[in-house]
Symmetry: C2
Subunit: 316 residues, 2 copies
């Protein structure tokens, strides 16, 4: 497998991205290749500085950089030679089988939609995050910000996409899906949740177990937490706030340490018709390494194929 | 001041409510009176058991009890002799100047609207919670669940109501108002936040300082966090989850201890045309005491009058 890495993306690029690629090399198989996409001069200079042979990697030159705060569509249009635009061209032409970046996440989602597109039947591609559970398990939450406004049918599809991710990547059989809500009983919540509940309650497309409240987010009650991207982003950044606060106050243990974002490579763009992974903007080398490894897992788990098949059988 | 207490409301009623009333007696002035509303027999039996004279309190008999899970409007209609219905009758007829309960919070909001009503100009009454800040300060967040679906003009009004609470109860001058959002810049967020931002950005009705992300919830950046009731409830219960988790793991310090809900008496129903306070369902005696004290603070701070005046001058 050839994995494209946006070397220029992320707050600590290109040092952290190249260091991450070097770490990832050891975690990958010998036949896997990491394709460094970015300014060749910058890449070679850094590799030379740290005494790593440029031969360990394929390098594809891309002169432009899309900044973290740029408007996605405008940036992609105006910067065809950016590392993100180049990555998606390589992905579309199958020169790479996966593409990952810790850069502008909006540009990554829009770039995916405009290059490889979405899987037939996908209403909105989505992004996820892991939530460590007290019982040692991992749950996921989606959407985490890609879709701040969603309708009930989109939430329904998120449940399906999240279930497939859980099965294929976290190896959870028949994952339990909970609708994030402000009460446990049917009929609770805002209008969106009320209608999503009605759609989900008798489904056979996934294993719906009812509403889940945020007070139960860490209790291992469900494997997939479904919500609109506004709510998911609020939840996720509040977890970050609490983690940072506890680190600062030295109130930590093995469980709290699992909230360190570095452990997770980022999020696949679920529903994209290709293997696309978005890392956290503040990614360190370890986070970049895990992002590359996750890209390989998405590829090996055939997540895209499985979503395609599931949507083909979609009862809604 | 006469403060009505729903003795039958809350998971640990009537023991916790009566114990709380006894604690509150010491915190109030000599001329203040607590009116215990509930089953006289139950109240007298408990007071006798703990050797406290029934003369310390006024007692108003109310035979019925509204359960925590009952539908508010139906329960209030079918149980006119419930402690909550009785409390609101006393409040409306000015036999008490404030009414508080740790019982069915929906019934408390609906009861307030159907008895004392809302202050002229209030679109939706709202409830708040405190968020302890790392710098020692307190912020508030509203709405916390009373209004799961809101429009932008309602968020605008929440900002105003929250500002008045902050000024009068937390004694913060010119409180900074932040709109809870998933990005810092204008234009970020869901459609609700985008339009609320446009309404707020040039206001002179309150001190709007822009968007605030949930990663900054504890950093003392704003005094009033405004959001819809769905989001606010999710945030609040996630704080509860984290607090409970840290207690369990014995990861705690003076700051973390401030998240103990017992420290806060609950929430006033801001916008109601009377002094109404709702406590947490799991209220202990200490929480009940603080709920009674908060009811007095709302009365003494003339919060209702100040909201009335502010809405009279309302520019929107």
């Amino acid at each position: 497998m050839k994995i494209g890495l946006d070397v220029m993306g992320g707050d600590f690029a290109p040092d952290a991205t190249i260091d991450g690629a070097i770490l990832a090399r050891e975690a990958l198989d010998a036949q896997d290749e990491i394709v460094l996409i970015g300014q060749t001069e910058v890449i070679k200079t850094y590799l030379e500085k740290i005494n790593v042979s440029a031969d360990s990697f394929a390098i594809v030159n891309a002169e432009e950089i899309i900044g973290m705060a740029e408007k996605p569509l405008k940036a992609l249009t105006n910067k065809p030679d950016s590392s993100i635009s180049s990555g998606f061209r390589l992905l579309k032409s199958r020169q790479i089988q996966g593409f990952c970046s810790a850069g502008n996440s909006g540009a990554m989602v829009v770039g995916a939609m405009y290059s490889v597109g979405t899987i037939a039947g996908v209403i909105r591609p989505t992004t996820i995050a892991h939530i460590p559970q007290e019982n040692g398990a991992e749950s996921i939450i989606l959407d985490i910000g890609t879709n701040p406004d969603t309708k009930a049918d989109v939430l329904y599809q998120f449940a399906l996409l999240g279930s497939i991710y859980c099965q294929e990547i976290l190896k959870i059989k028949n994952p339990r899906v909970g609708l994030l809500n402000i009460g446990a009983e049917e009929g609770k919540g805002n209008l969106l949740c009320q209608s999503a509940y009605l759609m989900m309650k008798d489904t056979t497309d996934f294993n719906f177990t009812g509403n889940v409240e945020s007070r139960d987010l860490f209790k291992g009650k469900v494997d997939v937490v479904v919500c609109d991207g506004f709510t998911g982003n609020i939840v996720l950044k509040q977890i970050e706030a609490m983690y940072r606060l506890l680190q600062k106050r030295k109130l930590t243990d093995d469980y709290i340490n699992r909230f360190n974002y570095e452990n997770y490579g980022g999020s696949p763009v679920l529903g994209a018709n290709g293997n696309v992974v978005i890392g956290h903007g503040i990614s360190s080398a370890i986070a970049i390494k895990n992002m590359i490894v996750l890209t390989r897992q998405i590829y090996c788990g055939k997540v895209t194929n499985k979503i395609r098949r599931a949507l083909h059988n979609f009862s809604h």
